[in-house]
C-alpha cells in the first residue's frame, strides 16, 4: 500500500508533451502532475486520445522526436529529472529500473528469436551475466510468471505461444532486472476475460513479492478497481480527477468520471437504459476554450466555456479539475431517485 510519508518514487510535475504535426500542434499531454510511491499501483484511466499512453512513453524517454517533444515539466525518478538525462544515461534506467509491458505482446516480441534469447538479452545487458547464466536465470523468471515447462518453452518462438503466455513472457522480461517501476500499458486489453484474470492476479502477486510500483494504464474501469491503490482520470491531455481508488468509485467528483461510471453496464444494477456521455472527444487540434469537457458536460455553463479550471483539492487527498464539482452532488441525488423509481 501507498505510504504517504515515504519518499516518492516518481514525481511528475507539469509535464507537457506536444507533437508538432503538419496540421498543427497536438497537445497530447498538457500539464500533468502525479506521483507514485514505492510499492503502490497508480491507475491511469481514460479513453483513446486522452494522453495516457504518451505520459508513460514520456517517462520511458520513448517519445519519438520529431514530431514529439517534452516541452515543459519534470519527471523526477528517485529525485533525478529524467527529462534532462542523455540517451546513454536513459538506457541505464530503462529496462533496469523502469520496465514497460504493452498491450499487444506479439508486436513487442521479436518473432525470429527464441523466448530464451529475448529474456536473456536483457539480463546480459543489465546484469552482466554470461549467456549460460542468463539462460538459467531466464528459466527461473519463466517459472515465476507461471509458465509450465519453462525448460522447453525457453527454446520456443513467440508464435508458438498463446496470447496469455506471450504476455507472461513480456512480464518475465520486464521483471528480469528487478525494476522499481513497472509501467503496464493496457496489458490485458487484448486478452480474454479468464486469461485477463490470470494476468492481473499474477501482476498483483509479483508486485508484492518484488516490492515494486506499478503504473497501470487502461480504459477499463473494472481493471482499475481491481488493481489500483490510487487513480488519475485523464481527459484531453489533462488529469481531471486524482484520488485513492475507493474514494474515486464511491464519490466521483468530476462530471466526466461520473459519466464514465454511469455509461458502463453494471452486473448488480440493472437499468433499462445506459446513461451515455453525449458527443465525442474533441480533436486535440481543436480543443474548446475553457474546460475541455465543456462540449459534453451536463453541468457546463458560463465560466466553463471561457476559463480552464485548475486541479484543486475538493477534499483531503481528492483533487478535481472542475468549476462546478459541488453542483454534481445535486445531480447525483436526482439520478439515484430516478433509479429507485425505475425499480
Amino acid at each position: 500500500m501507498a505510504n504517504e510519508n515515504s519518499e516518492k518514487l516518481v514525481d511528475v510535475k507539469n509535464l507537457k508533451t506536444y507533437f508538432y504535426t503538419e496540421e498543427g500542434v497536438v497537445k497530447a499531454v498538457d500539464g500533468v502532475d502525479y506521483e507514485i510511491y514505492p510499492g503502490e499501483t497508480l491507475g491511469i484511466v481514460g479513453e483513446s486520445g486522452c494522453g495516457k499512453s504518451v505520459t508513460s512513453l514520456s517517462i520511458m524517454g520513448l517519445v519519438e522526436s520529431p514530431p514529439g517533444k517534452i516541452v515543459d515539466g519534470e519527471i523526477l525518478f528517485e529525485g533525478k529529472d529524467l527529462t534532462k538525462l542523455s540517451q546513454a544515461e536513459m538506457r541505464k534506467i530503462r529496462g533496469n529500473e523502469i520496465s514497460m509491458i504493452f498491450q499487444e505482446p506479439m508486436t513487442s516480441l521479436n518473432p525470429v528469436y527464441t523466448i530464451g534469447d529475448q529474456i536473456s538479452e536483457a539480463i546480459i545487458i543489465h546484469k552482466g551475466l554470461s549467456k549460460k547464466e542468463a539462460m538459467k536465470e531466464s528459466v527461473e523468471m519463466l517459472k515465476k510468471v507461471g509458465i509450465p515447462l519453462p525448460e522447453q518453452r525457453i527454446n520456443e518462438y513467440p508464435h508458438q505461444l498463446s496470447g496469455g503466455m506471450r504476455q507472461r513472457v513480456m512480464i518475465a522480461m520486464a521483471l528480469s532486472c528487478d525494476p522499481k517501476l513497472l509501467i503496464a500499458d493496457e496489458p490485458t486489453t487484448a486478452l480474454d476475460v479468464t486469461i485477463q484474470a490470470q494476468i492481473l492476479e499474477l501482476m498483483n502477486g509479483l508486485k508484492d513479492s518484488y516490492g515494486m510500483s506499478i503504473m497501470m494504464i487502461t480504459h477499463d474501469l473494472g481493471v482499475i478497481a481491481e488493481v489500483s491503490d490510487r487513480v488519475a482520470v485523464m481527459y484531453a491531455g489533462k488529469v481531471v480527477e486524482y484520488t485513492d481508488v475507493n474514494t474515486l468509485f464511491a464519490d466521483p467528483k468530476h462530471p466526466y468520471t461520473w459519466g464514465l461510471m454511469n455509461s458502463i453496464p453494471k452486473l448488480d444494477r440493472q437499468v433499462n437504459r445506459l446513461q451515455a456521455i453525449p458527443g465525442i472527444v474533441p480533436s486535440p487540434l481543436n480543443f474548446p476554450d475553457g474546460c475541455k469537457f465543456n462540449t459534453r458536460c451536463p453541468l457546463a455553463e458560463g465560466k466553463c466555456f471561457t476559463d480552464e479550471p485548475e486541479l484543486v483539492d475538493a477534499a483531503e487527498g481528492h483533487k478535481v479539475r472542475c468549476w462546478r464539482y459541488k453542483d454534481l452532488e445535486e445531480m447525483k441525488k436526482q439520478n439515484e431517485k430516478i433509479y429507485e423509481e425505475q425499480r
Binding site: 498463446s162 492476479e201 478497481a225 468509485f249 453496464p265 453494471k266 440493472q270 451515455a276 456521455i277
Partner: protein, 324 residues
C-alpha cells in the same frame, strides 16, 4: 408464448486444414460443432464466449456468409441452408449483420448515401433515385446522423458515428433479424453506451430481433433477454439472463462470471481462476471439451461427452455434474 423467429439445429462448420504440395486435407478446425439454439421474435439472444470459441462463425454461418458443414437454420419456417441463390438473396432482406470494426466494414470510396443506399438498390426497394435518397435520409436520422452527412466519406467520421452508419445500412432493408457481431467492442467506453442505447431504441421502434455476439459479459447482460455461452465450438449453457447470472450451472460459466473485473473496488470476489489456455479446436479434448481446465472434472468427463439438456425453465446446460 413468443414465436421462434430463428431456430438453429445441430449446426456444424468445419474448416479444412490443408498441408503438402497437393493441399491434402489433413485435419479440420471444428469452429462450430453441433450447436443448437433458437431466438424468439422481438427478443435479444446474447451469444458469449472467448476468442476462438466459434461465436462469430456461428453468426456468419447462419447468414451463409460461410457455408455450413451440416445442420439446419430455420428462419420463419424456411431452411436457409437449403435455399438457392435467388431465394437466399430475398431472405437476406430479413436478416442483416452489423460488424465489429467500423473502420474495416465500410467501403472508403463510397459516400454514406451510397453505403446505406446500396442494399435498397439491390433489393429494389425504391422506385427512383429521389425515393431512395429520401429513404436514406430518413434512416440516417433514425440512427442519429443528420442528412448533411450523406455526401461524406467514412474517414470523416469517428468510430461511434461509423458504427451508426453500419447500423443504418443494416436497417435500410427493414430486416426482422439483426446479427450484431461485437458491435461495440472497438468503441470507447462513453461511445459504447451511445450505440447500445441506439440499438435498444431501434429494437423497440421496429420490433427487431437481435442475435448479439460479444465477449463482454456486462454488455451482454445489459442488452440480452437470454444468453448462450459458447466454449470451443459448443454451447455449454443457455438460459434467461437472470437465471444464468444468478445460478450459473456449468463450471465454465461460473468461472467466466467470476473473472469479470467489476468497477467496484470494495467488492472482493471469489475468483475461480482457470488454469491454462483454451485448447486448439483442431484437436479438441475428448469427452467434455472443458475437462482439462475444469476445476470439478472427474473420470467420466474425459471419456463421455455430456448432453445439452433442459434442466427446467428453459435453462439448458451440458455437464456431467448436473446429471448426478
Amino acid at each position: 408464448m413468443a414465436e421462434k423467429l430463428l431456430e438453429v439445429n445441430n449446426l456444424k462448420k468445419y474448416f479444412p486444414v490443408k498441408a503438402g504440395i497437393f493441399k491434402k486435407t489433413v485435419a479440420h478446425v471444428k469452429a462450430v460443432d453441433d450447436v443448437s439454439f433458437f431466438v424468439n421474435e422481438g427478443e435479444t439472444l446474447g451469444l458469449v464466449g472467448e476468442s476462438g470459441c466459434g461465436k462469430s462463425t456461428t453468426g456468419r454461418t447462419i447468414l451463409r456468409l460461410l457455408e455450413a458443414t451440416a445442420g439446419e437454420v430455420i428462419f420463419e419456417g424456411k431452411d436457409v441452408l437449403a435455399l438457392d441463390k435467388e431465394d437466399l438473396r430475398n431472405i437476406r432482406r430479413d436478416m442483416q449483420i452489423i460488424f465489429q470494426d467500423p473502420y474495416a466494414s465500410l467501403n472508403p470510396r463510397m459516400t454514406v448515401a451510397d453505403i446505406v443506399g446500396e442494399p435498397i438498390d439491390i433489393h429494389n426497394l425504391a422506385k427512383n433515385k429521389k425515393e431512395r435518397n429520401e429513404k436514406v435520409k430518413d434512416i440516417l436520422e433514425r440512427v442519429g446522423l443528420g442528412s448533411e452527412y450523406m455526401r461524406r466519406y467514412p474517414h470523416e467520421f469517428s468510430g461511434g458515428q461509423r458504427q451508426r452508419i453500419g447500423v443504418a445500412r443494416a436497417l435500410a432493408v427493414d430486416p426482422k433479424l439483426i446479427i450484431a457481431d461485437e458491435p461495440v467492442s472497438a468503441l470507447d467506453v462513453s461511445i459504447q453506451a451511445q450505440v447500445i442505447n441506439l440499438l435498444q431504441d431501434l429494437q423497440k421502434e421496429f420490433g427487431l430481433t437481435y442475435l448479439f455476439i460479444a465477449h463482454d459479459l456486462s454488455v451482454v447482460k445489459h442488452i440480452s433477454d437470454r444468453i448462450a455461452v459458447m466454449y470451443l465450438g459448443k454451447i455449454v449453457e443457455m438460459a434467461d439472463k437472470g437465471d444464468l447470472f444468478n445460478e450459473p450451472m456449468h463450471p465454465y460459466t461460473q468461472s467466466l462470471l467470476s473473472a469479470i473485473p467489476e468497477a467496484d473496488p470494495t467488492k472482493k470476489k471469489d475468483r475461480i481462476i482457470l488454469e491454462g489456455d483454451v485448447p486448439s479446436p483442431v484437436d479438441p479434448p475428448s469427452g467434455c471439451r472443458f475437462h482439462p481446465r475444469c476445476p470439478k472434472a472427474f473420470d467420466k468427463c474425459s471419456v463421455e461427452e455430456p448432453v445439452f439438456k433442459n434442466y427446467g425453465d428453459n435453462h439448458f446446460a451440458a455437464c456431467h455434474l448436473l446429471e448426478e
